[in-house]
């Protein structure tokens, strides 16, 4: 049994309760999310539908003209199976309008622009329907920094941010996410044939086994090597975690007063809730 194996019934109860509690305590009852056709957003849709009722979940697929058509088909499959509100909103006109003005952007800038365009669409629709934007970044990609700051990383609350990709797979099986969505290779779908694991240079399974021991169990480098991880792999992952830490924090504020936001003005977000 992998150290990452989880009691899916218990995890499901906690995550469903989280979405229900954190949405309703701010006086709302709806959730909004981007449904990419991938497993992370599919799982969040399943959690949200169980927490809020399918009629209160609003999912949007936001393809760009280079997106794989299979992604949209998978998103629709999830939406149909759950009976949640579903809409396809193409972002090609907005993104292309921008790159007409700024034509020399590379793939990374284009990908980030698309992710941020989708974010603005989601936040606009959250205002339209009166719901909170649900995050779909898992712990593996958050730790590796494999996401766009203020893009797909932006949300009001994230039910899966403390579970690794391997655990996303396991919980998705338990919650009935369609087989096609579980089995396909994870992809940011920025260009045809792209896969996360090619981009990263290692598999999520391997990264999860390492991250769990490095982050959760706080094993030292020596202990990780003794456990059987290659030193180069450890260093590569460690560098990604450290190098992307800025993405996981709020902007830092220059302190000049006696009571600076976050530093010594400290309240829970659920203050009064």
């Amino acid at each position: 049994m992998s150290a990452l194996t989880i009691n899916t019934a218990l995890l499901r109860q906690i995550l469903v309760g989280f979405v229900r509690d954190e949405v309703t305590k701010v006086g709302l009852h709806k959730g909004v999310l981007g449904l990419s056709g991938g497993i992370d957003s599919a799982l969040v849709a399943y959690i949200a539908a169980e927490a809020l009722g399918p009629e209160n979940v609003y999912a949007y697929t936001m393809p760009y003209r280079t997106s794989n058509p299979e992604s949209e088909a998978h998103a629709k499959l999830v939406a149909d199976q759950l009976g949640i509100n579903y809409q396809v909103l193409e972002i090609t006109p907005m993104v292309d309008a921008y790159f007409d003005v700024v034509p020399h952007a590379d793939n990374m800038r284009r990908g980030n622009k698309m992710a941020r365009e989708r974010m603005t669409v989601l936040y606009d629709h959250s205002a339209e329907v009166g719901g909170l934007v649900l995050g779909t970044s898992n712990k593996t990609e958050l730790l590796l920094g494999y996401g766009t700051l203020h893009g797909d990383m932006a949300s009001a609350l994230n039910p899966i941010g403390d579970i690794y990709k391997s655990q996303v797979w396991e919980l998705s099986e338990a919650m009935g996410v369609p087989r096609e969505v579980i089995d396909k290779k994870p992809s940011a779908d920025l260009w045809a044939g792209q896969t996360d694991e090619q981009d990263l240079g290692f598999t999520y399974r391997d990264a999860d086994e390492l991250l769990y021991r490095m982050v959760d169990q706080r094993m030292s480098r020596e202990e990780l090597i003794a456990f059987g991880f290659a030193a180069e792999f450890i260093d590569k992952v460690q560098k990604k975690v450290q190098g992307s830490h800025f993405k996981r924090r709020l902007p830092i504020i220059a302190k000049v007063s006696n009571r600076t936001i976050d530093r010594d003005f400290r309240y829970a977000r659920d203050w009064g809730k």
Binding site: A3, L11, D21, L157, Y267, A268, G272, K273
Partner: protein
């Protein structure tokens, strides 16, 4: 005497005294209606847990109207409840009150304020400086607040002070999801409460809260443990509940006859050895 305890596994709202007071009064009413003699609440039941800078804003003096109200209610049912206490010299304590027959019988101020991992209590709160048992209509009782119980000496002192019932008021966050049936934090607590009861031939009532604060949830699972270490009653996990438990005086008597460890405990020896260790450490 035999008595009935109601463990109010509530979901307080963070920093909302008025709403939480209403929750507490509703649970007290239900406790009375179900014939309970004692109603017990979680740690910081009147305020919620991750208070941070809210601590001074929700703190109550012992003569606050809310406490006066609880005193009145305690004429009908004994009450154990957690709140933030402010003293005349403006120290803020994570405190538990025991009220009975219209009076405050005891105030326990949490001694062990966890400040590690997800906890940050000692940044905001002052540390209590004693563990004392006290007499109630159910015999001698000792109160502990959450982390207090993770220090063996706390329960030991209360047992040496002749407590036969330990009340532990808790706000324990759920964490440690794994392939096991139980949550890590729940499994650890269940071992602790059962072992404490068994070691000290005491009954233990453990009241934990539920609900989420900034994504952190509290797992509930409040329970009553007989002096044998056997769990006699357990509330739901992760959901609000009011656990009504009959506590059998005979079970205490029988356990103390069957395995009289507390009778045989050599407190003098323990004291001498602790004094020696203290001397040696200060040399």
């Amino acid at each position: 005497m035999d008595f009935t305890v109601a463990l109010a596994q509530i979901k307080p709202k963070l920093g909302c005294l008025v709403d939480n007071m209403a929750l507490v009064e509703a649970a007290i009413d239900k406790g009375i209606a179900s014939g309970a003699d004692l109603v017990m609440f979680p740690e910081l039941a009147l305020t919620g847990y991750f208070l941070k800078d809210l601590v001074p804003e929700v703190a109550l003096r012992l003569d606050a109207p809310q406490i006066e109200r609880l005193k009145v209610l305690s004429r009908q049912i004994s009450i154990a409840i957690g709140f933030v206490e402010v003293t005349a010299d403006y120290r803020f304590f994570n405190s538990a009150l025991y009220l009975e027959a219209g009076e405050i019988l005891h105030v326990h101020r949490k001694v062990y304020l966890p400040t590690y991992g997800l906890f940050d209590e000692q940044r905001y709160l002052a540390r209590g400086d004693r563990f004392r048992a006290f007499d109630t209509r159910f015999g001698r009782v000792g109160m502990l607040i959450c982390e207090d119980m993770w220090h063996l000496s706390s329960s030991y002192i209360l047992a040496m002070d002749n407590a036969t019932t330990l009340l532990c008021l808790s706000s324990s966050p759920a964490r440690g999801i794994s392939g096991r049936e139980e949550l890590g934090s729940a499994a650890a607590w269940q071992k602790l409460t059962s072992t404490t009861a068994m070691f000290l031939n005491c009954r233990v009532a453990y009241c934990n809260r539920v609900g989420y604060e900034d994504g952190i949830n509290f797992w509930g699972g409040s329970e009553v443990i007989a002096p044998s270490g056997d769990v006699t009653h357990r509330a739901k996990l992760l959901e609000e509940d009011l656990l009504i438990a009959k506590v059998d005086e005979g079970a205490l008597r029988r356990e103390r006859i069957f395995s009289p460890m507390i009778r045989d405990e050599n407190m003098g020896l323990t004291l001498n050895e602790l004094k020696r260790i203290d001397r040696e450490n200060n040399r």
